[in-house]
């Protein structure tokens, strides 16, 4: 092995150390400082306060539901795309990624127009006499979830396609030749092999929706999530300590989730 090869890491590592590790460490350390002594007071009050716990609960609930919906919608789509010819796959992939290319603000505004009381959905339902009064969809948890799914579904699809592409089509035929039905072959062969992709996708969606700010801010109405609470603390209350505590809690949850997902991946990945 050529000895100085690791030196190539140096510029990147230095950049990350200065602009990521140091600031994050500073934020985390500052949350334990309390008039010169070390204290957990900020965290105790966060975790004993029903108001902040409620927001934490809402945040987790929204992220989990968004992730589940992304799996339900993304899995069949990804499977279909991965089975098409290479040239078509490129087109489908580009289409799937498209939502990621528009800004969160533009996307949220189009949802506001669609979900509002005079929006597309309510107008349609009213015209068809399904409802006689507009539904309140905008400014609820539902509208946040819709926005999140729209935002993060591409990540789920990309992660799944990456794994599914590498599942050899002959495996399905082999299973069929051994007498498995198409459904059984899918459950026994494709599903287990695609689990790594599913886990990567879920982690990305879960963490992404946990930390998203613009979507809940614009579509959420009165509903608060951790990211909007953090914003209120910094920008309007100028309370950087409370904001740092929320940030640290978000980082901790993120790592916890990654840890759980990695452990699951280890357990479920047939290749070990």
């Amino acid at each position: 092995m050529k000895k100085p090869a690791y030196l190539l890491l140096f510029p990147g590592a230095l950049f990350l150390a200065v602009f990521m590790v140091v600031p994050i460490a500073t934020i985390i350390l500052s949350t334990f400082a309390n008039d010169g002594s070390v204290s957990l007071a900020g965290y105790t009050s966060f975790f004993t306060d029903s108001y902040t716990l409620g927001i934490l609960g809402t945040t987790l609930k929204i992220s989990l539901i968004s992730t589940l919906i992304c799996i339900l919608l993304g899995y069949p789509t990804a499977y279909y795309i991965s089975r098409t010819s290479v040239s078509r796959r490129g087109i489908y992939l580009a289409l799937a990624i498209f939502p990621l290319l528009t800004s969160a603000i533009v996307r949220s505004f189009s949802w506001m127009v669609t979900l509002g009381k005079t929006g597309l959905i309510n107008t349609l339902l009213l015209q068809l006499h399904v409802i006689d009064k507009p539904l309140q969809i905008l400014y609820t948890e539902t509208s946040i979830i819709i926005g999140m799914v729209h935002l993060f579904l591409p990540l789920m699809i990309i992660s799944l396609i990456g794994v599914m592409e590498n599942i050899d089509g002959d495996l399905m035929q082999a299973a069929a030749s051994l007498g498995a039905s198409r459904f059984k072959a899918f459950v026994k062969v494709v599903l287990p092999l695609s689990i790594p992709g599913l886990l990567v996708g879920s982690t990305l969606v879960l963490v992404g929706s946990l930390t998203a700010y613009a979507t809940p801010q614009l579509l959420g109405g009165k509903k608060r999530v951790l990211a909007t609470l953090l914003f209120q603390n910094t920008m309007t209350l100028n309370d950087w300590k409370a904001a740092s505590i929320i940030a640290t809690i978000m980082i901790a949850i993120t790592f916890l989730l990654i840890g759980v997902m990695n452990a699951l991946a280890k357990k479920l990945n047939p290749n070990g």
Binding site: T211, N238, I258, N262
Partner: protein, 356 residues
């Protein structure tokens, strides 16, 4: 395990990218004196009607004084926070009076020399010294009251107490407590609750019952305009300058001066501590208060005039807070008291009103 690391890294990078660091610090404005090059004056302001302000205020001043005006735009709290962090020097800052009161309390502003700003004498009394005579005047006095869609109810809205009508449930929007209008909520809710002055307990008792009626607490007037456009809401408390925008989208919307009276919204101009352009800044403030600028801004509906020499026809005054009678009847709050209570109020607000 290798894959584990890749996933962790990917997630971290993504988190960073989505969190999006939106801080852009422009290079600080140091002036190049003496060699004929224009000086630079950094003005921190809202960014509304920038094109009109450029025409009415900035360009004439730049020409007359060989100066280049650089704008830093954002809402009150964003911009005050930037000054707190001293990222770079701002010369003149325009803030609503309670944010100015915070800045003064924290020692962020320079005292002004009123003899350098003779136009202060031409202002309505209420605008002369909203934060005391050591600090900047108000360059505009707006008002905060109620707007509602006439077609949404058979009974006209005349009082703040009408917001509690059951028919407005799911049709109401209120400003967030942290906005300029937030403290007005506490004041009128105190009165509706039967108190004479601001009373935290009575106010939040009332606001708690109002919370479930609210669709969204807005932090930006543009959000409110959107909600009226989309017919998400039919009634709100708001400052009068937003009326024109909302009326364009929904002509049934009407402004109400509640029988309890509407509130004065004074926007101030102050010099930021450490400015190297103190006299130029004072000159700039004086220019903004001049009859010429005030009239031009009033005609373009940028700001209601604070200069009492500005004369407008009834049409020209439409949508503005205009006239000695109107202005002298506006209610003002004690912002130092408000700012002292704000933290408690925000806490009560979050718990009792928003999550109710």
């Amino acid at each position: 395990m290798k894959k584990g690391w890749t996933i962790s890294l990917a997630v971290l990078l993504l988190t960073g990218a989505l969190a999006g660091c939106a801080s852009k610090n422009e290079a600080s404005g140091t002036d190049a004196q003496g060699n004929g090059k224009p000086k630079e004056l950094v003005v921190s302001t809202w960014g509304f009607s920038e094109d009109l302000l450029k025409k009415n205020v900035f360009e004439p001043f730049e020409k007359a004084n060989n100066v280049k005006i650089k704008l830093e735009v954002g809402n009150n709290s964003d911009r005050l926070n930037k000054v707190r962090m001293k990222a770079h020097q701002v010369d003149v800052i325009m803030l609503a009076e309670q944010f100015a009161a915070q800045g003064i309390e924290e020692g962020l502003f320079e005292k002004i020399d009123r003899s350098h700003i003779p136009n202060i004498d031409n202002l309505f009394d209420v605008a002369k010294a909203p934060n005391g005579t050591d600090y900047g005047p108000a360059y505009t006095v707006g008002s905060s009251g109620i707007i509602y869609d006439k077609t949404a109810t058979s009974q006209p809205v005349t009082s703040y107490a009408d917001l509690w009508r059951p028919e407005f449930k799911g049709k109401l929007s209120l400003p967030d407590i942290t906005t300029t209008d937030g403290a007005f909520l506490v004041d009128f809710a105190s009165k509706v609750g039967g108190a004479q002055a601001m009373d935290t307990e009575k106010a939040f008792g009332q606001l708690k019952t109002l919370g479930p009626s609210v669709v969204k607490f807005y932090t930006k007037s543009s959000d409110l305009a959107n909600m009226f456009n989309q017919k998400e809401v039919a009634v709100a408390t708001v400052q009068n300058f937003v009326l024109a925008t909302i009326k364009k989208a929904n002509p049934n919307v009407e402004w109400v001066t509640p029988k309890e009276g509407s509130y004065a919204v004074r926007n101030t101009m102050n010099l930021v501590k450490g400015t190297k352009n103190k006299e130029l800044g004072e000159k700039f403030i004086d220019w903004w208060l001049s009859e010429e600028v005030q009239k031009a801004n009033a005609l373009d509906k940028v700001d209601s005039p604070a200069n009492k020499n500005v004369k407008l026809t009834p049409q020209e005054a439409e949508g503005l807070t205009y006239g000695a009678d109107t202005i002298n009847n506006l209610k003002t709050l004690d912002w130092n008291a408000v700012n002292k209570n704000m933290k408690t109020w925000i806490d009560r607000w979050n718990r009792d009103v928003v999550s109710n």
